[in-house]
């Protein structure tokens, strides 16, 4: 009985250790006010409609990044973009969450081509090569801002919500 119990216990501990160390392939999740919650990997992103955005990094130089427009991703998740983005939908925001806990916020109108010509992308490539360590596999690229502070690294989640105040 006792041996049986400790065997179960050991088993449980092992599963924990194994599951704790199992590497899962990186992915980004879109959730919240969406009609089709979406999770996509690097491979999925490679198959979508690609865009390029140019960003002046902290080094003061302009670099070109390749990835998928945020609008495209949000539309795939069934977020109210384009013609649907009016009235109460204009009180919605997007919260971008990164692996290191960093979070930045956008209003949906900032990301929609019927409001702005600026195209914000989720990049997986820098100058058609891999993103540097610590920044990938997914980096937000927000062109045209004086500070690159919203061009956040290692994006893991995007959450859409209504502002309720």
């Amino acid at each position: 009985m006792n041996i049986f119990r400790s065997a179960i216990f050991l088993g449980l501990q092992l599963t924990f250790v194994v599951s704790a160390y199992a590497q899962t392939s990186p992915a980004v999740k879109i959730s919240g006010e969406v009609t089709k919650p979406l999770t996509f990997s690097v491979d999925d992103l490679a198959k979508m409609k690609r865009s390029t955005a140019v960003l002046t990094d902290r080094d003061g130089k302009a670099h070109s990044y390749q990835g998928v427009a945020l609008q495209e991703l949000l539309e795939q998740a069934g977020v109210t973009m384009g013609k649907q983005l009016r009235g109460e939908q204009l009180t919605k925001y997007l919260m971008v969450k990164c692996a290191d806990g960093y979070e930045v916020l956008f209003s949906l109108a900032e990301l929609d081509s019927s409001f702005t010509d600026r195209v914000v992308i989720l990049a997986d490539k820098l100058e058609n090569g891999p993103l540097p360590d610590g920044k990938g596999p997914f980096r937000l690229v927000v062109p045209g801002e004086k500070k690159p502070a919203r061009s956040s690294f290692q994006v893991v989640e995007m959450v859409i919500r209504y502002a309720k105040d």
């Binding site: 704790a20 160390y21 199992a22 590497q23 899962t24 990186p26 902290r58 080094d59 692996a99 290191d100 806990g101 960093y102 360590d133 610590g134 920044k135 690294f153 290692q154």
Partner: protein
């Protein structure tokens, strides 16, 4: 006849009104936790566990209750001692079975603003957190059911629980909820640095320079001095919920956040912690490797270990006072000033506040 009918009606209304007023507050009294506006209101209190006077009073007693441990010898307060800002001065505290904890005991301060707990942020919310030390075999090692059954034998607990949560609330869930309510009240906001922010304290020249170094980012090209600490420890709370590899090891013995996320980019990342009362909470880091704050500063200034996951804020030209970008490059004088700033984060009101002390003493 008419008149007396009127009178009766009025007296009925009066009595009804009075009794409504008298019984209006059914159940526990809501407690407002005071904190300065500069801490911001991004606080985390679950809807099903509002903070109340009765809940906090019960939680305080439970925090110091040794009956919650298998040996009846230790309480939360054994490892989390108020006079040391709720740490115990050890690199690794000893649990109920005599074994050392795998990581350094964390300070309990301004938890109202924390969402993910422990050095690796593995547990969301204080209610979930509290169950861990209570039941972990190497910490207090007693199931919530056994604890609830033991406390039910005492009249005082039956009464305290019923006041805090109503009858039949003396359960594991009630224990965890009360502890969490108490922990949310552990606000430290009366250090000399707070008095400075309120305009009641004039820091010394060294302290002022320490403040500016702490918040400032270095720019060697323009001869601007900074220590860049606020990237990670920033804001008046000296806390943002971030996970970083702060360069302790090239190959970390404890992979930290990687164990939670399963991602290699999280290797050696740990949750940034508040620096409030930091002079009281030695030794430092998740493994208590540094005995003094001088050692911590020398780590950041001269001994950052490179690795693939080292935070970008701790490397390169934009993060160095030296033009080669190899180290932080603070002078000895600047390190002393930074240290002076860390010392004005010590809040003697917090560590002597009767509301947080052991009620059994």
């Amino acid at each position: 006849m008419q008149v007396s009918g009127y009178k009766i009606l009025i007296s009925i209304l009066l009595v009804a009104g009075l009794s409504i007023a008298g019984f209006r507050r059914q159940g526990p009294e809501p407690l407002r936790i005071d904190y300065p506006a500069y801490f911001g209101n991004r606080t985390f209190v679950p809807d099903d566990n509002p903070t109340t006077v009765e809940g906090v009073a019960l939680g305080r007693r439970l925090f110091y209750e040794k009956k919650l441990s298998a040996s009846q010898q230790i309480s939360c307060g054994t490892c989390h001692r108020q006079e040391l800002a709720f740490t115990d001065g050890k690199a690794f505290s000893t649990g109920v079975d005599g074994s050392p904890q795998p990581r350094n005991t964390m300070s309990l301060v301004n938890l109202l603003w924390v969402r993910n707990f422990f050095w690796d942020g593995r547990v969301a919310g204080l209610e979930m957190q509290a169950a861990v030390p209570l039941t972990n075999a190497h910490e207090m090692g007693q199931s919530l059911e056994v604890s609830a059954a033991l406390l039910s034998k005492e009249v005082v607990y039956r009464s305290l629980f019923s006041k805090a949560f109503g009858t039949d609330s003396l359960t594991g869930e009630g224990i965890v909820k009360a502890l969490s309510q108490f922990e949310r009240t552990l606000v430290s906001a009366d250090a000399p640095y707070d008095r400075y922010l309120r305009g009641d304290y004039q820091p010394t020249a060294a302290e002022l320079n320490g403040i500016s170094l702490f918040y400032g980012n270095p720019d060697a090209a323009r001869n601007i001095r900074g220590a860049g600490c606020a990237h990670c420890h920033g804001g008046p709370k000296t806390y943002i919920e971030l996970y970083h590899n702060n360069g302790l090891d090239t190959i970390p013995a404890d992979s930290g956040r990687e164990k939670v996320s399963g991602q290699s980019y999280d290797r050696g990342r740990f949750r940034v912690v508040s620096l409030r009362n930091i002079a009281l909470t030695a030794p430092y880091m998740h493994d208590g490797r540094f005995k003094t704050l001088e050692e911590v500063l020398s780590h950041y200034n001269e001994h950052i270990k490179p690795s693939k996951t080292l935070s970008p804020f701790l490397q390169g030209v934009g993060n160095s006072n030296a033009s080669d970008g190899l180290t932080l490059g603070l002078t000895d004088r600047e390190k002393k000033d930074l240290l002076a700033f860390l010392h004005i984060l010590t809040d003697s009101t917090f560590i002597t506040d009767k509301r947080f002390s052991d009620p059994f003493r």
